[in-house]
């Protein structure tokens, strides 16, 4: 009787695991829009897909629509327009409790009146698993997060990191094929956060679940994700692998939001294929990779990362500028120089810690056009 029951559970789990669509379109947003008040949009024209087993991060500043996107996927909010597909089927009419999606909340949302074991067992017991089955699975899940001996405690008696792990176990214990996490590490201190990042990453590769992860911390997004969707003003500014986003930002927003970037302002002088020439404000010419920039005479901004700038001995670089050292910041593994170009614009330069420089020293800086990208100027 009990075995038959368990088997049925397995069948339903297995049935849900059967994919009706191509594996790289496990989750798909089709022209999704969301407005809370009927006049402004929290999310606009969102088209995005998540592959099965992928770790996708939604990264963006606060208020950019990440949580709204996640809530629509979880079923807590309905899209105003468009539709969301899960495993090839539209879920627009499916309530959250029938979506079989695990979710980890920023404030953990553990049930304070239940013990750790009851919390983790909740998704199993509402699915009518047998008592023995629930216990076995809960113990396995607690072993996974190394909190087996805390099973009888209530959430209030656990530290923040332990609560986080319990929330994680609770979202994974019923073996959902998709897990959503909304800034799950936001409340933890830096050290614990880095530890938990690793732990989540390990669970992801171990269990093979699909994870959609929300954060506003770009380094977190870069270290954990297979792909990152950068959100801005309710839409995706750019989506791609961390490496791609870091090296080839397609807008000044992405360039400045991900990693550090220097911005130089100027006017387009000439565009030819993959190279353009920019006349910098205050004087000087620069060659850069053009990204959607306008024709000659329009203003633009050039982004260059601090680590791409080299201190040169002679004028043998493609872009070559003289500058004065205005500040020196020692950061242990490297040194940060603040260099004022002769045209008055300021650059931050990352150099090795052994570099010998003094304040007010004249230096020569150089980089190639592939290392800097010219965007249309932001209004």
């Amino acid at each position: 009787m009990m075995v038959a029951h368990t088997n049925r559970q397995f069948e339903t789990l297995a049935a849900k695991g059967v994919s009706h669509a191509e594996p790289d379109r496990f989750v798909e947003f089709v022209d999704v829009e969301k407005s809370y008040d009927g006049c402004s949009f929290a999310v606009t024209r969102l088209n995005m897909h998540v592959a099965k087993g992928e770790f996708l991060t939604l990264l963006g500043p606060s208020g950019s629509g990440k949580t709204t996107t996640l809530n629509m996927l979880a079923g807590f909010e309905r899209p105003t327009n468009g539709s969301i597909m899960l495993d090839g089927q539209s879920v627009d009419r499916r309530p959250p409790y029938e979506r079989n999606i695990g979710m980890v909340f920023q404030n953990y949302a553990l049930f304070p009146h239940m013990t750790v074991e009851e919390n983790v067992g909740f998704p199993l017991s509402v699915r009518k698993f047998s008592k023995a089955d629930v216990t076995a699975r809960v113990h396995k899940a607690l072993d996974m997060i190394q909190l087996r001996k805390f099973g009888d405690r209530r959430p209030g008696q656990l530290s923040g990191g332990q609560q986080q792990r319990v929330a994680l176990a609770r979202a994974l214990v019923f073996e959902p094929s998709l897990v959503l996490m909304d800034e799950p590490l936001g409340a933890l201190d830096k050290k614990l956060r880095e530890h938990m990042q690793l732990e989540i990453k390990q669970l992801h590769s171990m269990l093979g679940v699909t994870i959609v992860y929300v954060t506003h911390d770009q380094s977190e997004a870069l270290t954990m994700s297979d792909r990152v969707a950068v959100f801005n003003n309710g839409g995706i500014a750019q989506i791609g692998t961390p490496d791609n986003l870091y090296k080839k930002p397609e807008s000044p927003f992405v360039a400045s939001f991900i990693g550090e970037n220097n911005t130089l302002e100027g006017i387009v002088e000439q565009v030819s294929g993959h190279v353009c020439q920019v006349a910098l404000r205050g004087g000087g010419l620069l060659r850069a990779t053009p990204i959607d920039i306008g024709t000659q005479g329009t203003s633009c901004q050039v982004a260059i990362r601090p680590e791409c700038i080299r201190i040169a001995a002679a004028a043998d670089e493609e872009n070559d500028f003289e500058a004065t050292v205005e500040g020196r910041i020692y950061l242990g593994d490297h040194l940060r120089l603040l260099a004022r170009l002769d045209n008055g614009q300021l650059l931050s330069v990352k150099v090795g810690p052994e570099t010998i420089t003094t304040e007010a020293q004249r230096i020569r800086l150089g980089w190639s056009h592939t290392e800097c990208r010219a965007f249309p100027a932001q209004q």
Partner: protein, 416 residues
């Protein structure tokens, strides 16, 4: 080995001194909190604690009979307690009655005995008049000629009243009495009223509590789930009745509940009833009015707990596969229970003490225990009986509170 002892010995001493230091600092802390609460405690003790204790003590301390019959009491020492006392006791009784008559304490004694022995007053006054007549020499025969003084019940009452400490009033408050052969028995059904009134009071309190819960819970849920500004407006609407006194609200209900009043008009118009109901001076009208007055007391604790439950709790339950009813019962409701307990207990205990509303809206059969207590204090001037009823009510209430606290975990009221 030696080294181990060498190390542990100072450690143990250290631990002791640390523990002592912690105790000292905690004692200081306690003293400080006590000092801060001192003024209020003094005020409460003087204006509240002591008067209540004095009043309640009257339930068991009644020296009226002992004071009025000092000689009789002394003469009765040697009496066996069977039948009628010896003549010297009757002589002493006559002397006591005369003395009372002279110093003006007779009516008080008559009233005191009357409370224990209905009808005694007229006999005592008659006896005193007979003894007062000129030229009465044989006082014993005067007294013996009256059937009142030859009834064993009279003397049993006097014997028990000889002691200032008495259990008479407390027993009466629960419809019990001493019978002639010195054991406790139920009073005859036609005299038994208080147990029925206590039962009615508790039933009424339970009904009103349930009604406020049924009305208040959904409302509290609504207020806690609507946007903040609307919630604030609703809370003000709930609190509005608090701004008028309970007397005014009760008076307003007496207008609304009239046979040709607004409530009947509306019921008739809605077709709920075919004829006009007698809501005034009825149990139903009383329940309606008390429910209205008590609603905020039940609602506010529930609301304040609901407000602290984050929306993510229900979302988490849904995302984990809980259907709405399951999620409500297993995640939401258990977290609201402390608020429900607090609100219901508050309303229940307040209802046990209702006085004005039953007096104005309830009928003769709807009077609650407080109305009887007030009647004994204001009309009958029988403070002993009032004190006894109050005492029983207090014991019931505290017992109930203890049961609630134990069974339903009132300790969970403290914030998590």
């Amino acid at each position: 080995m030696d080294q181990g002892q060498f190390i542990t010995a100072p450690n143990a001493a250290d631990t002791r001194s640390v523990a002592a230091a912690i105790r000292r600092s905690q004692a200081r802390e306690r003293l400080r909190s006590f000092a801060l609460a001192m003024p209020l405690l003094t005020l409460l003790l003087l204006s509240f604690g002591i008067p209540i204790a004095i009043l309640l003590s009257r339930a068991v301390y009644d020296p009226t009979i002992a004071n009025a019959l000092p000689l009789t009491g002394a003469a009765m020492q040697s009496w066996s307690g069977n039948g009628i006392p010896e003549d010297k006791t009757l002589e002493a009784l006559a002397a006591d009655l005369k003395a009372s008559q002279q110093n003006g304490n007779l009516s008080e004694f008559a009233k005191g005995l009357n409370a224990r022995l209905p009808g005694a007053r007229s006999h005592i006054l008659k006896t005193a008049r007979a003894l007062d007549k000129e030229g009465v020499a044989d006082t014993v025969s005067v007294i013996k000629s009256m059937p009142f003084w030859t009834s064993p019940g009279t003397w049993a009452t006097i014997v028990r009243g000889r002691h200032a400490l008495t259990s008479f009033y407390l027993l009466s408050a629960v419809d019990l009495r001493w019978n002639a052969d010195g054991s406790i028995e139920r009073v005859p059904p036609e005299q038994a009223i208080f147990l029925r009134v206590f039962a009615r009071t508790f039933l009424m309190a339970a009904t009103v509590t349930l009604a406020t819960l049924v009305l208040g819970f959904p409302l509290a849920y609504l207020i806690s789930s609507v946007p903040k500004t609307l919630g604030a407006i609703l809370i003000v609407a709930v609190l509005l009745p608090f701004w008028t006194s309970i007397l005014v609200r009760t008076a307003a209900w007496t207008v609304l509940l009239q046979k040709f009043g607004l409530v009947n008009d509306v019921l008739l118009w809605l077709g709920v009833t075919g004829t006009r109901l007698d809501l005034m001076y009825s149990r139903l009208g009383l329940v309606i009015a008390m429910t209205h007055i008590q609603l905020p007391f039940t609602l506010l604790p529930i609301y304040s707990v609901m407000r602290t439950i984050q929306p993510s709790q229900m979302r988490a339950a849904y995302s984990l596969g809980g259907r709405p009813l399951t999620s409500f019962l297993r995640v939401y409701l258990p977290q609201v229970v402390p608020g429900i307990m607090a609100g219901c207990l508050l309303t229940f205990i307040l209802c046990l003490g209702y006085y004005i509303t039953p007096a104005l809206i309830g009928g003769a059969g709807d009077q609650l225990i407080s109305n009887f207590i007030a009647n004994y204090v204001n009309v009958e001037l029988n403070w002993e009986m009032a004190a006894a009823l109050s005492f029983i009510l207090l014991v019931f209430t505290m017992g109930l509170y203890a049961v609630f606290a134990r069974m339903l975990g009132l300790d969970r009221l403290k914030p998590v």
